[in-house]
């Protein structure tokens, strides 16, 4: 299984967790909504793979960063499994965000060196 994963899988996986947590900051959502939201917001740049979305959601739930409950959707008369951010998840989001920022800055510095260093 591992062999068939692309090389950047680890980075992507961490990023996906962050994106999910950020999405849930708007309020509780079910898996489909989360996937659609990420896809829409990035103008379809990030195609949501359900194969990674659901394992990620369950991983986050296992770590206690999100909680889940079956609830009836307001627009459809059916129950969906809604995920919501926990306090622990909010803290985690802050951590991941700052880490991502540092990472992006570091990458940017290598890729586009600015004059201020010279």
């Amino acid at each position: 299984m591992d062999k068939r994963k692309p090389k950047g899988a680890d980075l992507l996986q961490g990023t996906l967790d962050m994106l999910i947590l950020r999405t849930l900051l708007y309020g509780p959502a079910h898996g489909h909504q989360i996937g659609k939201h990420i896809q829409r917001t990035t103008n379809d740049f990030l195609q949501m793979q359900h194969g990674s979305l659901y394992p990620a959601l369950h991983r986050l739930e296992k770590r206690g960063w999100v909680s889940s409950r079956w609830e009836t959707a307001p627009d459809r008369n059916r129950e969906f499994k809604y995920y919501r951010l926990t306090d622990k998840g909010k803290k985690q989001l802050v951590v991941e965000e700052s880490e991502w920022k540092r990472m992006a800055e570091a990458v940017a510095r290598v890729m586009w060196p600015t004059a201020e260093e010279s």
Binding site: M1, R4, H30, G31, H32, Q49, H50, G51, Y54, P55, L57, H58, R59, K62, R76, R78, E79, F80, K81
Partner: protein, 878 residues
């Protein structure tokens, strides 16, 4: 979420995916797609729901448990599909694991489990030790200690917290109200023995220092006597019992678990009690065992060196007496396991060998089975099954076999252990041998080890790259998988080698046992009944009284119908060491001080002793009724003594001077043939003194041997009645025929020989089944090839020869390997062999022949079947 909520969790994931998938579908429909299109579009967007579900479930750690359960379920189904194989494999495992567990139980109880005493690790036994290498036989290496040596060691050294001594003794226990007299096994233990061991009395108290004197009259009962004879009534404390006609006050009862030094002990008296006072000051009366507790801040070496210094000083002081120069020590647990350690370890090795063979056998069958599933495994790994998953599945199968076999085996071992303990009479602490938690843990470990051993090899060999290659191989391949066959042959070679090692060990032990059984004791052993009694010193205080009783008894027994002859002496040949004394020969030049004195077994005998037991007279005469107290002192010596100390000179008329017996010269009046004091041991120089001239230091216990015309046991009741008529208070003990005495002394030799033989035969069967299996497998694989050969004109004999050579080659390699290994391993059992060389050519040849014969038979069946193949049929089956 726990693992037992797996189903709930799975249902939850299913529901979640389903609802989201439906939503996707609904949205597609809302966009205007037809319901069919919407369904496919949703699925496309979603991906493989089964895979997503699996991956999502895998997030929760219980998926591992789930996988194992699934693997076990699949393997159970696989095993049920071929019940014959499963049953055999499980049975093999059950036997192997059961036998190993049983032996481990015994080994653990006897050799490994700490003794139930306070700080048992610091308890050691101290013995006298002679430096003379000629005396370094097992009897002298660890020589029992004399009382005076013990007292000096205890008072003059400081490396041990304390030292205690104990000695063997026997009492006639008689009742006040005409209860049956009985001879009770007793030990005399110094007053500090129980505090030193950390043992308290269950009822009452242990001995105090003031009781430990020759005229003491305190006694402690062991739990078994307390229950059996006194009904477990604790009011016995403070009451008096009759031992050898003297009154002893019961001060305490020992706890039930206390069976030191063995479970046969009935009463304990203080060390000095009932001993002649002068013996306590002797340095050359060796009869005590010394237990010492090491001080925590002192090393054993330094504590021992102090005792050695004292002992060497004593040796120099008594140069002409048998006082050893040195001291040797053993841990208490080693001391208790003395004679059984070696056979136990050998049996454990044998059973481990059998376990290995069993595992290899199951591995072999599993390799064959996985070969049949090669295509399936190839397809699965091509579809992306991970290698670990496949290996795990294989292991689940062998684990299931081992587990079922293990459970059956442990249950078998419960019964087997009991049987073993009841058969193996000289095991120490036999009462405490039972299966407990540790043994169960060992059994579990064994199950997993065997599962791994039996499953890993086939699992690794059948998965991996070779599995995919199986798909490439077309059905036209004739020889099948060469590497697989090679692996099976290697397994088989190892299996056969191990079998050969076991067979040779068993053969040697059996031959040695047969030698023991047929050993010439040096006297008559058929139709002889023996029994022992001990005349108490109080009632029979004068030699005349003893002689009167003994002579009357011999006369009356001789008059019984069916009695051919009667012998009376201290003991009979084959019944044990008895005792020995040093002596000097006045006619020979005096020995230089410091040389070890001549030493010989001492026996007493009546005039009829030698002729009744048919010990031949070589020169001189037997005793007559004139050799008795008050007459000139006489002695009869054995041939070995004459040869050893008189050489070519005629010993008759010369004298022996045994100082421990009497300060007098004994005239040698006869020379008789040699006898064995114990079967399996070297015969020793022996001197016989007249039983009617008792001296100090004579063994109180006498053995009456009755030679009969018919069944010797039939005479036992009439003789015992005669004794009861002469003295109703005199108990008789050890009523055995000579055959039984010899049989008893062989006890564990016969048991270990037959057990090892049993293991070896079982291994042989396993190996031949393995051989048969491999060859049958080979034959199925090569059916096409054989068909071609026969179509081309090969004759049936040639096919048989081809197949035979295929099967016999691993057998031959295994045999050679096994023989080589045996050359090394027989050294392990060398010391257990009697009259048999470890490299006994006959045994080696017999084993090789047996193995080849069995291998040939195992190979012949498949080879013959191969030759019956119809070429057309075989080729059409391609």
């Amino acid at each position: 979420m726990r693992w037992w909520q797996i189903r709930k969790r799975n249902a939850d994931v299913d529901r979640e995916l389903q609802s989201d998938l439906e939503l996707e579908e609904e949205e597609e429909r809302e966009r205007g797609a037809s319901s069919q299109e919407a369904h496919y579009a949703a699925l496309r967007a979603f991906g493989n729901p089964a895979l997503i579900r699996e991956q999502t479930s895998a997030v929760w750690s219980w998926s591992a448990v789930e996988n194992v359960l699934r693997d076990l379920r699949i393997s159970a189904r696989t095993l049920f599909r071929s019940p014959g194989f499963s049953l055999i494999a499980i049975l093999v495992m059950a036997l192997c694991i059961g036998a190993t567990t049983s032996l481990f139980t015994v080994v653990r109880s006897v050799l490994l489990r700490p003794l139930p005493f306070r700080d048992p690790d610091r308890l050691v036994m101290l013995y006298e030790h002679y430096r003379d290498p000629a005396l370094n036989t097992p009897d002298y290496n660890y020589n029992v200690v004399s009382p005076a040596d013990f007292y000096d060691w205890r008072s003059q050294t400081h490396g041990f917290e304390d030292m205690a001594a104990w000695r063997y003794w026997q009492f006639n226990l008689t009742g006040e109200h005409g209860e049956l007299p009985e001879l009770v096994e007793a030990r005399g233990g110094s007053w500090n023995l129980f505090p030193l061991l950390g043992v308290n009395a269950a009822i009452g108290r242990t001995f105090v220092e003031s009781e430990d004197r020759p005229d003491g009259s305190s006694v402690m009962l062991t739990w078994s006597l307390f229950e059996r004879r006194f009904g477990g009534d604790s009011s016995i404390i403070g009451r008096q019992i009759h031992l050898d006609g003297k009154l002893y006050t019961v001060v305490g009862v020992l706890p039930k678990w206390f069976t030191y030094p063995d479970a046969g002990v009935q009463v304990w008296v203080p060390y000095a009690t009932a001993l002649p006072p002068e013996i306590l000051s002797h340095h050359d009366y060796h009869f005590s065992r010394v237990v010492a507790r090491l001080r925590p801040d002192v090393t054993l070496a330094s504590a021992l060196s102090q005792v050695e210094a004292v002992q060497y000083h004593l040796h120099m002081q008594y140069l002409n007496a048998p006082v050893a120069e040195d001291v040797a020590s053993k841990t208490l647990i080693q001391d208790l396991a003395k004679d059984v350690k070696k056979p136990l370890i050998i049996l454990l090795c044998a059973v481990a060998c059998m376990l290995l063979i069993g595992c290899l056998n199951v591995a072999n069958i599993l390799v064959a089975r996985s070969a049949a599933r090669q295509k399936e495994i190839g397809i699965r790994s091509a579809l992306g099954a991970r290698r670990m998953t496949l290996i795990r599945e294989h292991l689940a199968e062998s684990l299931l076999i081992s587990l079922t076999g293990g459970v059956t085996g442990v249950m078998l071992s419960l019964a087997a252990t009991e049987w073993l303990v009841s058969k193996w009479t000289d095991l120490p602490s036999a009462q405490s041998i039972h299966v407990d938690g540790t043994v169960l843990v060992f059994g579990c470990a064994l199950v997993f080890a065997t599962a791994l051993l039996a499953g890993l090899l086939p699992a690794i060999s059948s998965t991996g790259k070779s599995a995919v290659r199986a798909l490439q191989a077309s059905s036209r391949t004739m020889a099948g998988s060469q590497s697989r066959t090679a692996l099976r042959k290697t397994l088989l070679t190892v299996e056969i080698a191990a079998t050969v090692v076991l067979l040779i060990a068993a053969g040697l032990l059996l031959k040695s046992f047969w030698r023991l059984r047929t050993a010439d004791v040096g006297c008559l052993t058929d139709n002889v009944l023996t029994m022992s009694y001990s005349l108490p010193g109080d009632k029979y205080d004068k030699p005349e009284k003893r002689n009167a009783f003994n002579e009357t008894l011999v006369e009356r027994v001789r008059a019984l119908s069916g009695v051919r002859a009667v012998a009376l002496g201290s003991t009979v040949p084959g019944a044990g060491y008895g005792g020995d004394d040093v002596f000097t020969i006045p006619e020979l030049p005096a020995l230089a001080p410091g040389t070890t004195l001549p030493d010989a077994l001492n026996r007493t005998a009546d005039p009829g002793y030698f002729s009744a037991l048919q010990i031949p007279l070589l020169s001189g005469r037997f005793f007559t009724s004139h050799d008795r107290t008050g007459q000139p002192k006489t002695v009869i010596i054995s041939h070995q003594l004459a040869k050893q100390y008189f050489g070519v000179e005629n010993p008759l008329g010369k004298h022996l001077h045994p100082p421990a017996r009497a300060d007098a010269d004994y005239e040698v009046v006869g020379v008789v043939g040699d006898t064995l004091f114990q079967v399996g041991r070297q015969s020793m120089a022996t001197m016989y003194f007249p039983v009617f001239a008792p001296d100090k230091g004579d063994n109180m216990s006498l053995t009456l041997a009755v030679r009969t015309a018919g069944d010797p046991l039939a005479i036992s009741v009439p003789v015992q009645k005669l004794i009861a008529e002469l003295d109703p208070e005199l108990p008789v003990s050890d009523v055995f025929t000579m055959q039984q005495i010899i049989e008893n002394s062989l006890g564990s030799a016969s048991l270990s020989a037959s057990l090892v033989l049993g293991f070896a035969v079982l291994s042989l069967i396993l190996a031949s089944v393995g051989l048969y299996g491999v060859l049958s497998y080979l034959m199925t694989q090569r059916t096409g090839e054989i068909g071609v050969r026969m179509a081309m004109g090969a004759r049936r004999e040639q096919v048989v020869a081809l197949m035979l050579s295929n099967g016999l080659r691993p057998a031959l390699y295994g045999l050679v390997l096994g023989l080589f290994v045996s050359v090394g391993t027989v050294r392990l059992i060398q010391s257990m062999l009697y009259g048999t060389q470890p490299l006994d050519p006959a045994t080696f040849a017999a084993v090789a022949a047996t193995l080849l014969a069995v291998a040939a038979v195992a190979c012949l069946v498949p080879a013959w079947r191969a030759s019956r193949i119809d070429p057309m049929q075989a080729l059409r089956n391609e």
